[in-house]
């Protein structure tokens, strides 16, 4: 009994990480209908940036992430402004292929710079600390902090979207880019700001990716797929749905792994396909699209 409960609890914690991956993807798609195939590779890139800052400045992972966030946000703004804005339009092919090319460039650029060795963001004592919820059922502090951060990020994104002027501009551009432009909004600037926010979220997800497990330059695409599955399960355009989607993938993976270690990833994919067949618009669809 405790064993099953523990498995599910671990899955929920893992789901927090996937929700963090998915939040950035969901944000970008929601505002500019851009599906970023390089999303997973950007997360890995951010993890390497945090690692580099830790070594260069002698910081611990959390502080290094705080420093990395504005840097990565600026990078995101430039990336959107200089490259991705040019691909937006009625045709879905240019953004897909350009981000696919970007994914290949990032992966191989990281391989060239950091080699294929596995890396880890070492955080010291917190890595092994755990909290005993009830006797016999303990969770790692890092896992708890990951889930709390996911909830915090999604709360923050909701506040940004529904309580600020920038959020209003985001929503207006998402609803009707042409009318938004008539109202004096510079779409290209808004899109670039959205990518900057997404990159800041990516920095947070990279922190937990790197602290919880080893990473190397080639693991990006798998993270993209988990993020994507969480977004679709949750329903397009709903941040809280994304959290639920992440938790479902996480629980499916830990339950699958408990049955047979080789089934971990497969179980997550099958849960996604099941939701797709039964509820094609996701569990918490929003609006009429």
């Amino acid at each position: 009994m405790i064993g099953t409960l523990n498995t599910v609890l671990q899955g929920v914690m893992l789901g927090g990480l996937y929700a963090l991956f998915a939040a950035g993807l969901s944000l970008i798609f929601g505002i500019m209908r851009l599906v970023n195939l390089a999303h997973g590779d950007l997360i890995v890139l951010a993890a390497f940036v945090v690692l580099g800052l830790m070594h260069a400045l002698g910081l611990d992972p959390f502080l290094a992430t705080l420093v990395a966030m504005p840097v990565l946000a600026a990078f995101g703004y430039a990336l959107q402004h200089l490259l991705l804005n040019r691909t937006l339009g009625r045709d879905i092919l240019p953004p897909l292929l350009v981000t696919f090319g970007l994914s290949i460039i990032i992966q191989n650029g990281l391989l060239e710079t950091f080699s294929a060795d596995s890396q880890r963001l070492k955080a010291g004592a917190i890595e092994v600390a755990s909290v005993e919820l009830v006797p016999g059922l303990a969770v790692g502090v890092i896992q708890l902090v990951t889930l709390a951060s996911a909830v915090g990020v999604i709360l923050g994104l909701n506040l940004l979207f529904y309580r600020t002027e920038l959020g209003r501009a985001f929503r207006a551009t998402s609803d009707d880019p042409e009318i938004a432009q008539l109202m004096g909004i510079d779409n290209r600037h808004i899109f670039a700001l959205a990518m900057a926010v997404a990159m800041a979220v990516i920095a947070v997800s990279a922190l937990y990716l790197g602290m919880r497990a080893n990473f190397d330059p080639t693991i990006g695409p798998a993270r993209l797929i988990y993020a994507f599955e969480a977004v679709i399960i949750g329903g397009l355009g709903s941040f809280w749905g994304t959290l639920a989607g992440g938790v479902i993938i996480g629980v499916a993976q830990t339950v699958g792994a408990a049955i047979n270690p080789e089934w971990q990833v497969l179980a997550g994919h099958l849960a996604f396909l099941a939701v797709l067949v039964l509820r094609p618009r996701g569990l918490f669809p929003r609006g009429s699209e």
Binding site: P94, L96, L97, F100, L102, I105, G109, E262, L266
Partner: protein, 434 residues
């Protein structure tokens, strides 16, 4: 869909005022025996685009003088390639097997993405399935490898049906990632089959690879070793598959399905409104592409003779490279993948030893093409010089005033696309954005 799809004359119509435009459209349509929006009124003979309206002012043609010349040259090239094992080196044979199989994969991906608007990044699912089916059918069922390849293609087509029903629930870019998830599922499931080597993979035993049908005949004919004879048979199979694929895609595009596909590509809503069944058309294309990709996958793994889940379902090898070939060459054209595979082959043989830098270059090259010349190398050349080696566009050609078949005027030759009688109505009314 825009007016350009109709062909030559309306390039001029565009400059006329709206009312005159409609008038002239009706006149031209009438002159080739078409009543707008009445597709049934046109005989299906006009699909072939030959000899419509013999006494009128316009006729419809598909072939161009250049394309007829090319057809002859193409047939000669095919004959030379067929006879190549008699004088080509074994190394050349093996390189050409690679070129032909990549060309066939690129044609199927182009059919999906360039024509049906189904941008898949999960075609490695069918390459891997084809390869694994070949291994299962030869090792465990004792089929001849060539029979096994055909069977693998058929089984892949059957497996594509439930796959399609799942991934077709996603649209656009989400469809792309959905196909990727499905490919991952196939990879993870096949890694569970211990009889096929599980996660580490397995090899074809010599008893299978040395008993391909016709191997003794080829050995006697060219006086070569068993393994060289196997390569030659694989080479012929790859040549047949590549040439057959190009021909198949060409025939599809010249048929009613091709017109339906072009309509879907240009505007799904407009296509639906003129009676194209989008779902069925896409489903058929998806299944055909899956079957073809499965065949190619089986052939690739007959030559490799060793398979593992990670290699057989590799997104980099079977999808990224294929997308690169199509985009560089020119998406949405038959010639594009042919140009693309040649560029890819030259780049790979000369630069692959750069390792990661080579891949970075490939990625950057693809991005640059997409931003600067989205129609690829062939699209760029075709637009500038009006080239079409595999013409699929129906062109309205004005006859000389005295009724004889006159040479088309330059403006009429510069058309990017044109349609057979019954589809003219589609294009014209689509062009009006009704």
């Amino acid at each position: 869909m825009d007016l350009r799809d109709l062909g030559a004359p309306e390039l001029d119509w565009r400059r006329t005022a709206g009312g005159a435009l409609a008038d002239r459209a009706r006149k031209v349509l009438g002159s080739v025996g078409v009543r707008p929006l009445a597709p049934d009124a046109v005989s299906s003979r006009r699909h072939r685009g030959e000899g419509a309206d013999p006494i009128g002012r316009y006729r419809i043609e598909v072939a161009t003088p250049r394309s007829r010349l090319f057809a002859v040259a193409g047939a000669c090239l095919l004959a030379v390639l067929l006879a190549l094992p008699a004088f080509g080196s074994r190394n050349l044979i093996n390189e050409l097997i690679f070129v032909f199989t990549m060309l066939a994969l690129a044609q199927y991906w182009n059919l999906l993405a360039g024509y049906a608007g189904l941008v898949s990044v999960g075609q490695q699912a069918f390459v891997g399935l084809g390869g694994y089916l070949l291994f299962a059918l030869t090792i465990h069922q004792g089929l001849d490898p060539l029979v096994a390849i055909l069977t693998a293609g058929a089984i892949t087509a059957v497996l594509a049906v439930p796959t399609a029903l799942v991934v077709f629930r996603l649209r656009g870019a989400y469809f792309a990632i959905g196909t990727w998830v499905v490919a991952e599922v196939f990879r993870l499931v096949l890694a569970q089959f211990k009889g096929l080597g599980g996660g580490t993979g397995t090899s074809l035993p010599p008893s299978v690879t040395n008993e391909v049908a016709g191997i003794a005949w080829v050995k006697a004919l060219f006086g070569v070793s068993t393994s060289a004879a196997r390569d030659i048979i694989t080479y012929w199979a790859a040549l047949a598959l590549a040439a057959g694929t190009v021909l198949l895609v060409y025939l599809i595009l010249r048929s009613r399905y091709g017109l339906a596909l072009a309509a879907i590509r240009d505007s799904e809503r407009a296509a639906e409104s003129v009676g194209v069944d989008n779902f069925k058309t896409k489903l058929k294309v998806y299944i055909a592409a899956a079957a073809g990709t499965g065949l190619v996958g089986a052939l690739i793994y007959l030559q490799k003779a060793r398979i593992s889940p990670d290699a057989a379902f590799s997104v980099a090898d079977w999808t990224a490279n294929v997308i690169f070939i199509v985009v560089i060459g020119g998406i949405g054209t038959i010639e594009g993948p042919i140009v693309g595979v040649l560029v890819f082959y030259v780049l790979q043989t000369n630069l692959a030893h750069w390792g990661t830098w080579y891949l970075i270059l490939i990625g950057a090259f693809a991005i640059a093409i997409m931003l600067l010349a989205p129609r690829g190398i062939w699209g760029y050349l075709a637009e500038r010089h009006g080239l079409a080696l595999f013409p699929v566009r129906r062109r309205l050609i004005a006859n000389a005033p005295d009724g004889r078949r006159g040479a088309p005027t330059p403006s009429q030759r510069a058309e990017p696309g044109s349609w057979a009688g019954e589809e003219i109505s589609v294009s014209v009314w689509g062009g009006f954005r009704l």
